[in-house]
Amino acid sequence: MVLTSSLVIITALIIIDLIPIYRDQQWKAFFVYCFFLTIFLILAVLMEYNVKIPSPAEPIRSIVSFIFGFEQS
């Protein structure tokens, strides 16, 4: 489900956004765009196959508790 809907979005983005960027030869924007889209796609694929994606919530929680030294309530 994630993958299919992501693919739909990626296709739409390529048609609407990426092709004009390519035509205008904005290479920096083009590469950043492609880079983001690739991560987006990778995330979608991983989620489709139920791979657990690390969340920053937990590490941040432990860092914060380490620095401020409080116990979890």
Binding site: V2, I16, M47
Partner: protein, 372 residues
């Protein structure tokens, strides 16, 4: 690319909506129970001090946004590193707010719809808004805001018969301690978040005053929040407030006027979502601007869509559940934001003051910096 400008009124309205934003979802309950409104007022008072720093930074560097300021003050390399961290913060919180919205929708009604659909749909809406740019956002919010105000007023008036002022008693029963701990959280959650606005403070209309923008919206948004929590407590009681996941939504469920007008919580849900949507848009807009700045892309609109979609898909694994999300926002977020909300702006401010004073001594005249 021409320069985007939003008028002072639009900036104020945008910031008010931003402040109220996700706090309509992530209320706030906590230890102070019926004294929560006092906690809000304490938080406003504390934020007044910090906001002065933000406004001062915006005033010192007119027509510059935070990333440029960082570059000027800390140099190309170090400045960019800070921008990188800040962009991460914006991305993370932006994704978290998308998660707030999608969890909210999922829990209150679309329980069997895959959460990714809701997140990505939210992503589409936000991406379109971000891609259209700041001016459009300013205009959009000036349409949504009056509707939103009217809706809230109608809900408040309709529910006025169900208020019981006795539910606010006893005042300060547990003493000041829980109130202050709640105030700290509230300080970090909506009020100090206005640091994000520095990312496009350069687009404020030239003649507008950042002080006015910051203080107007802080006071209006803040007191609105105080009234909302007080209203919620008056309607369902402090114990219910801390028990329900979405108290504000619950109060709208209870409104009944006569025997014909009831079950109008959907209006409340719509208002809550449109408000939170604005906040997510502001965050992801700033993130897009940061990324564009990092990679020297002059036209940030170009990369708006993938940045927003990245955030919206990343919001799905961000938290396991709504409970975790709310707990995280209450317990961890205030500490997590300290570097970005307090340390960074204060550092920027102090460095800026020192550098500008030096400049003044050497060059003696610089009309831009003498603005204040």
């Amino acid at each position: 690319m021409y320069k985007e400008i939003i008028s002072q009124k639009q900036a104020i309205v945008l910031m008010i909506t931003f402040i109220i934003g996700s706090n309509t979802i992530l209320v706030m309950g906590g230890k102070s129970k019926q004294d929560i409104w006092i906690a809000v007022i304490f938080a406003i008072a504390a934020a007044c001090v910090l906001v002065a720093v933000y406004a001062r930074i915006a005033k010192l560097f007119p027509e510059k946004h935070l990333f440029e300021i960082l570059d000027i003050l800390f140099g190309k390399v170090f400045g960019r590193i800070i921008v990188l961290f800040f962009a991460w913060y914006l991305f993370h919180i932006g994704a978290a707010i998308v998660k707030n919205i999608s969890e909210f929708i999922r829990i209150i009604s679309l329980d069997s719809t895959p959460v990714c659909i809701i997140s990505l749909m939210t992503g589409i809406v936000i991406a379109y808004a971000v891609r259209s740019g700041l001016e459009v956002m300013g205009r959009l919010i000036s349409i949504i805001f009056p509707i939103w105000i009217t809706g809230t007023l109608v809900l408040t008036i309709l529910s006025i018969g169900q208020y019981d002022i006795n539910r606010l008693k006893p005042v300060l029963y547990e003493g000041l301690e829980p109130v202050i701990s709640d105030a700290f959280r509230l300080f970090a959650l909506p009020f100090a978040e206005t640091v994000v606005f520095l990312c496009f403070a350069g687009s404020f209309q030239r003649k507008s005053s950042p002080y006015k923008i910051y203080y107007y919206s802080l006071l209006v948004g803040g007191f609105y929040l105080a009234i909302v929590v007080a209203r919620t407590v008056m309607m369902i009681g402090a114990d219910n407030l801390s028990m329900f996941m979405y108290p504000l939504y619950v109060t709208a469920r209870l409104i009944r006027v006569g025997n014909f007008l009831e079950k109008i919580e959907l209006i409340s849900a719509v208002l809550i979502i449109s408000c939170t949507f604005t906040k997510a848009t502001v965050y992801l807009f700033s993130f897009t601007k940061g990324v564009a700045y990092l990679f020297n892309i002059r036209d940030y609109h170009r990369i708006a869509a993938p940045s927003v979609f990245l955030a919206s898909i990343y919001s799905i694994p961000l938290y396991e559940s709504a409970i975790e999300m709310i707990k995280w926002a209450q317990d961890i977020f205030p500490y997590y934001s300290i570097p970005f909300q307090i340390i960074l702006p204060v550092a920027v401010w102090i460095t800026a003051e020192i550098k500008l004073r030096k400049n003044k001594n050497t060059t003696a005249e610089n009309p831009q910096n003498q603005a204040m």
